[in-house]
């Protein structure tokens, strides 16, 4: 094909025009992910993972009072907010449908669009009413739970929050088969007693129901029946009854989530921002740079960048939120006979230098601990039950008949330095770890259920002892795939379930301590959730008991 100069110019013009068009195409007009900080900044601590909290499960017959909406009394309507809040998190929600998503940082996103039936206070973990005005168990066995909704609340699509909608949501949540669908245990019935009252009946005692109906495990974040009829709508929109609603046109899934005020929110005076932008920044250094340059008001932090954050003049908050160590799946010795011997498991605990590892890898942002932190507020008195004592470890191994050494297949997910540090300590006493690395959580679970690995290593969030027992210790627990059992821990679980919350606490503590003394696992560190914030945002609160921070409670600080 021969071309004249004019022809060449035409082709060049096509090339340039195509290039420019491609760079302008795609996206939406304002899918901007650059977060310009307005006059608001700063935040309280947040937990990137679960944090210990008070499980304020109501005693039978008790009802909890409604939390009064905060803010000034409206006089002729609240003034429209003008400030923008920009938040940085490291992992975005897998889905905008709370029934199909996990918990942790993503809870922060869901909280913006979804009020919950019961409010979990991030300041102290207390439970008060949110969409529910009153709530409580109506029997003595913690099986029948009732709550009455506030009148007049609506979802962001304008449909009413009534008993029928809540029943539909709870049934949908259970049927959706998401991560927490089984958290309630077996549900016998969910029924609308009247237009605003719902009764939930579970088959087995579950004093954690009030906590589950908060934002703790997403059950409480009810969504409009409009979305339940076609869940694919969750791909680009939110349908909660929270103070904000997703602006899909300015949202890029997995990167930027832009929220604007929900005109149907039941407490409009509590909407304090004209816009809330959540940015997903996976690299800790980039997160620090973003908040240091004012692009973010609040950011989840990391032990790697905390010192630099302080040097940059940011406030750094941290509180316990989870733990890590050797999770022993085969405490019964099914595939590795040695692990069925308590002395061997105790030897693993004695062999690991918790203080050294915590100090070297986490600094002040983790605590050496042999006891897993819990959301149940009992004191952790066995954190140093296993002092670093390699000689004791060798002695126990010899007594158990493994003085010549032992090889343990381990699956590890994340934190390779932590795994290697433990491996080095264990090698000193003759225990070799044969490590398989999982590249994602799905592969980890696949290897767990594959039945070839007796131990796994991955960071876990603190949870209630009820939850902990059901997943780690009880029959059928995902982290007890070989069905190991301890009759005393089983009995303690049954006992705690039959008691009011205050009385159950001592039993839960006893269960947790037996978990330590029997060396059911080798917990090594209690990890912290770390947050960075400035001074421009008020009302922040976070605590070990409060789970994840709640940005709907924040407000701009003038000046």
């Amino acid at each position: 094909m021969f071309m004249s100069s004019k022809r060449r110019a035409t082709v060049l013009a096509y090339v340039v025009a195509t290039a420019l068009a491609m760079s302008a195409c795609g996206g939406d007009d304002d899918s901007a992910s650059e977060s310009s900080v307005q006059a608001t900044s700063g935040s309280a601590a947040t937990s990137g993972t679960e944090t210990p909290s008070d499980t304020a499960s109501a005693a039978p017959g008790d009802t909890a009072s409604t939390s009064e909406p905060s803010g000034t009394e409206p006089t002729g309507g609240p003034a429209a907010p003008t400030a923008q809040l920009t938040i940085g998190i490291s992992t975005g929600p897998g889905s905008l449908d709370p029934a199909h998503d996990g918990a942790g940082e993503t809870t922060l996103v869901h909280s913006l669009a979804s009020a919950s039936i019961i409010r979990l206070d991030p300041a102290d973990g207390s439970l008060t009413g949110d969409l529910a005005e009153t709530f409580g168990f109506v029997d003595d066995e913690f099986k029948v739970f009732e709550f009455t909704l506030r009148d007049g609340a609506k979802f962001s699509d304008g449909t009413p929050v009534d008993a029928a909608a809540v029943v539909a949501w709870l049934e949908y949540f259970q049927a959706a088969g998401g991560p927490f669908a089984g958290s309630m245990g077996t549900i016998q019935s969910i029924e609308a007693v009247d237009g605003l009252t719902v009764r939930l009946t579970v088959e087995n005692p579950n004093p954690t129901v009030p906590l589950l109906l908060s934002r703790f495990r997403n059950w409480g974040m009810i969504q409009s029946s409009t979305a339940l009829a076609d869940p694919e709508q969750f791909g680009t929109a939110t349908f909660g009854a929270g103070p904000y609603v997703l602006d899909g046109a300015r949202t890029v899934s997995g990167d930027t989530y832009t929220f604007v005020p929900n005109e149907h929110y039941y407490a409009p005076e509590d909407i304090r921002y004209a816009e809330v932008v959540v940015k997903v920044i996976s690299d800790p250094s980039s997160m620090l740079q973003a908040i240091a340059t004012g692009q973010l008001d609040y950011a989840t932090g990391s032990p790697l960048t905390a010192a630099a954050a302080m040097d940059a003049g940011l406030t750094v908050d941290s509180h316990p939120s989870g733990y890590n160590g050797l999770t022993i799946l085969d405490a019964g010795g099914t595939i590795v006979e040695a692990l069925g011997d308590t002395r061997v498991r105790q030897a693993l605990n004695y062999a690991i230098d918790r203080v050294g590892i915590a100090d070297a890898l986490y600094g002040e942002y983790a605590m050496p601990s042999a006891q897993a932190p819990s959301l149940d507020p009992f004191p952790l008195e066995l954190t140093d039950h296993y002092a670093f004592d390699p000689d004791m470890a060798r002695q126990l191994l010899t007594e158990a008949g493994f003085g010549d050494g032992l090889t343990l297949p381990v699956v590890a997910y994340g934190e390779p330095e932590f795994v290697q540090a433990m491996a080095a300590d264990l090698a000193d006493v003759g225990v070799e770890l044969d490590i398989t690395t999982a590249s994602n959580i799905g592969e980890l679970i696949q290897l767990v259920v594959g039945g070839q690995h007796p131990i796994i290593v991955f960071a876990q969030g603190a949870t209630t002892m009820w939850d902990f027992y059901n997943s780690n210790i009880g029959p059928g627990g995902i982290l007890n795939p070989f069905g190991a059992s301890d009759s005393e821990m089983d009995a303690l679980f049954q006992e705690a379930n039959a008691l009011p919350a205050e009385d159950a606490l001592a039993v839960w503590q006893e269960l947790s301590e037996r978990h330590v003394t029997e060396a059911w696992d080798a917990v090594v560190v209690a990890t912290h959730a770390i947050s960075y914030y400035g001074d421009e945002v008020g009302g922040f609160a976070a605590s070990a008991a409060g789970f994840v921070v709640d940005p709907t409670l924040w407000s701009p600080v003038d000046g």
């Binding site: 996206g27 899918s31 650059e34 980039s286 740079q289 994602n440």
Partner: protein
């Protein structure tokens, strides 16, 4: 002599033929990616359920997602929908695959085009310069280009952020502003990542340009031009560079294809919502519909880039038949 109408029809026919020929390519690549992603341990159901993946919950969710079907059936179902333009929804977020890709396309294209433009400007300039100056200077330019090639793009990005975003505040540390929102802010938001990305490409193009220029400058017809007193500028830019241009265009096309997916680390550092990051995350999680959609789109982009390269050939050298 062909009429302008005839030439236009010829160009359209060429483009049409290229796109038609790429269809079997798209099918083959999509099948290959489907198989490869299926082999990654830990499917989407396990990803979603995590430690709550009791056997019953897992089987139920797998059935809901259609993952219990045999792989050939899953692929056939996907292909049947894809030919109708329906790439399905993400197994995780339920977001339409097309929407997810479309919302990120401008970022990736901006980065790739920006990086290749900068690479060409810097690389060609360095390459021409190093071919004209004394050998020692030329080698210094070569070494400088190689350092740029050796430095990882994400590291360069972190350094750029540290200096130009944090210390002097000229550019944003993270984020992307679409050109439709603000051309100025768009330019500021891609400046640092484009520079970080272009360093390696500049080195490759500089090297290619230098070699090509040295080759052409030593040719007989160029020596004749020197002897005839033709101005240096004309010799270098009208004749020598033109002679060396075709390989430069080829290398640039390959670099641009590499930039499309190779930008993922830079995307992470600058928190840019590009296709590379989406591809990595989707593949790791086993989000098959998203991966398949991305594969199709990437293949189309590669075909388009190759087409642009060929058109550039015809502009540079009219004797080249496209």
């Amino acid at each position: 002599m062909a009429t302008s109408e005839g030439r236009r029809r010829s160009l359209v026919a060429v483009i049409g033929r290229r796109l038609l020929v790429s269809l079997p390519l798209v099918v083959v690549i999509s099948l290959l990616s489907f198989v490869l992603v299926s082999l990654i341990p830990g499917d989407a159901a396990r990803q979603i359920l995590g430690t709550n993946a009791t056997p019953q919950a897992y089987e139920r969710l797998r059935a809901q997602m259609g993952l219990e079907q045999a792989l050939p059936r899953q692929y056939w179902n996907w292909l049947g929908d894809a030919v109708r333009g329906d790439f399905g929804v993400s197994l995780f977020s339920s977001e339409e695959v097309t929407h997810a890709i479309w919302s990120r396309l401008s970022v990736t294209v901006s980065l790739a085009i920006g990086a290749i433009v900068v690479s060409l400007l810097v690389g060609v300039s360095l390459g021409v310069l190093s071919s004209l100056v004394p050998r020692s200077v030329g080698r210094s330019v070569d070494a400088f280009a190689m350092i740029g090639f050796a430095l990882p793009g994400f590291w360069v990005g972190l350094m750029l952020i540290s200096v130009f975003a944090v210390k002097v505040g000229w550019f944003p540390a993270t984020g992307y502003v679409p050109i439709s929102a603000s051309p100025t802010d768009w330019l500021r938001s891609i400046a640092l990542p484009v520079f970080a990305l272009s360093l390696g490409s500049s080195a490759v193009i500089a090297k290619q340009t230098r070699e090509g220029m040295l080759d052409v400058l030593s040719s007989e017809h160029i020596r004749v031009m020197w002897a005839n007193g033709i101005p240096r500028r004309s010799i270098v830019f009208r004749h020598a560079l033109k002679g060396a241009a075709l390989p430069i265009v080829t290398v640039s096309g390959l670099q641009m294809i590499g930039l499309l997916t190779g930008a993922v680390l830079v995307e992470r550092v600058f928190a840019l919502p590009g296709l590379g990051g989406l591809a990595i995350d989707s593949a790791q999680r086993g989000d098959l519909p998203m991966v398949q959609g991305l594969v199709v789109w990437f293949t189309i982009l590669v075909v388009l880039i190759n087409l642009l390269v060929d058109l550039a050939y015809s502009v540079i050298n009219p004797r080249v038949h496209v």
